[in-house]
Symmetry: C2
Subunit: 315 residues, 2 copies
């Protein structure tokens, strides 16, 4: 059985084009019938201020299937531990034998979420867009910035806004060549692309702050109660794209807008269909486009498959 | 992180009284509000003739929670692999950190199922019962026999019946001091306790074969489509006991009888309540009692907790 530590996995996979291609295919697999993705398992530990999610599934044609167990225990930093942890188990889809333990401590989730945000963004923003605003100053904002820079067809000018100014400054220093925005409204009005990566439970981005032609990708809302975009913005968008529509309408950015009667499922498309060319993303330069990414196990499978293939090939 | 192989785990835990006590407590935890057991996860691989179940949960008060991933790929024996495999992951319930990988290859499931069958049986059979019939000749029958012998307060006289006579003979030889029954009806009529451990999908045990005073434990039916006992036997029993009533009524031995209108949920009790003394099991010597065990994650948690505690204590 292959066992890889976080540092070993970091050597094998990063924001590279092969990893991005795997994430892109993982979105398409959701739409073309290849994905077998059961509902996410969940168990809560309210007394310890923690929870655990189990994402698992199989993509038809793959030799492997993957089970990701990711926990968030939010009092951990007080005792010197990261709040998020994770491990990915890989099994043969032909014999059920365990093939690998990827003790990535959540790295692969951070990576695939960053890559996924970049893939979705470049599929929907105007090709000439350069002024990118990242909203958030955590781990996810870091990986988003790295993925955007690696995958940008024409370069990006990055700005960053965080609710905690000190954290935003620290992240900007870590990334280098990033401007820290002082005012979120001003920053949004100036942005050609806005990407939100916060655990906000009260919407941060107002509809009137977003200019015609702008693209917005929201990656923070991954469970009930989280919301980064005002529902009026969801309603105002000319195209709404979800990684998995059922999840987005249940607990993602499209949920509130639907609950308020502003949109229906028919007003949205899935990212995989846009990537595969079977649905239209951006129609006109002046359109506001919106991508909501809630996270799907196919991305975890794609990461695991890529890591294992590269490890076996001796990379 | 602690890692233990199957052979290491076999050295740590077997059909011993500490393990039985843990299994017994795991049944009680289902009934007394301590268990947090989400629905079992499932993914099927029809082309490979395989499936995978994910059982997980937490018992209030435990420092750990466990996730068991068990796969069955039924063409494996043709290529020299066991059809069942499994692994148990153990995490801190305080920080979410992964604490142990128990690569038990299904051993802990076999063991806890055998122990659970024995615990349920001795809680419900007449104290003076000695003539025990095991129906089945597979791995589960083996562990049942071992657990019955280790835990019997007053000794057991074991008989065995299997649909495959050769396998039954082989298992009897492996166990030693077991009589192989040639005719199932005759064997049932002579038995004071009957325990079924088969993957039967057509009932094996007829109602009229079971004598007054007999206790029957059924452990085979763990998923839809499986059934070992005629529904008339379920209807005829004086007491019906399930490890988890919701599972038994959904896909265990009580499901068909309820679907046929022969029983209702109110006609059944849970084993944990009997063990804790809050429900009555056997009322009279001449009663026919019935236990249906579908398998619950609390048992897997109890096994994992016991293994880890013993490993840490240097046993």
């Amino acid at each position: 059985m292959l066992q890889l530590s976080r540092s070993q996995i970091e050597q094998i996979i990063s924001t590279d084009s092969g990893a991005a291609a795997a994430v892109r295919d993982a979105y398409i697999a959701i739409c073309d019938g290849r994905a077998n993705v059961p509902p996410v398992g969940h168990i809560a530990f309210p007394e310890a201020h923690g929870d655990c999610h189990i994402k698992y599934g199989h993509i038809a044609g793959d030799d492997i299937f993957a089970v990701k167990i990711a926990a968030g225990f939010y009092d951990n930093p007080a005792c010197g531990l990261p709040s998020s942890t994770g491990v990915v188990l890989v099994f043969s889809a032909r014999t059920g034998q365990m093939e690998a333990l990827l003790n990535d401590e959540g790295y692969l989730t951070d990576l695939r979420t960053g890559l996924g945000g970049a893939v979705a963004t470049f599929a929907l923003c105007r090709p000439e867009a350069r002024r990118f605003l990242i909203v958030g100053s955590g781990t996810q904002a870091y990986w988003l910035a790295r993925a955007l820079r690696h995958l940008a067809p024409g370069g990006v000018e990055l700005s960053l806004w965080g609710r905690n100014a000190g954290r935003a400054e620290a992240l900007a220093a870590r990334l280098g060549d990033v401007r820290v925005a002082r005012n979120l409204e001003t920053a949004c009005r100036a942005a050609e692309v806005i990407i939100t990566a916060t655990p906000a439970t009260v919407p941060l981005i107002r509809a009137e702050w977003v200019q015609p032609g702008c693209h917005v990708t929201a990656i923070g809302a991954d469970s009930p109660g989280k919301q980064e975009l005002e529902s009026a913005l969801v309603a105002r968008a000319d195209q709404r794209v979800a990684d998995m529509l059922s999840q987005s309408l249940d607990h993602g950015e499209f949920a509130t807008a639907r609950a308020e009667g502003l949109i229906t499922a028919a007003d949205c498309v899935e990212l995989g269909a846009v990537l595969a060319g079977s649905a239209v993303g951006r129609r006109r330069p002046e359109d506001i486009t919106l991508a909501d990414l809630t996270g799907v196990a196919t991305q975890d499978i794609a990461m695991a498959r890529t890591v294992i293939a590269r490890a076996k090939a001796g990379r």
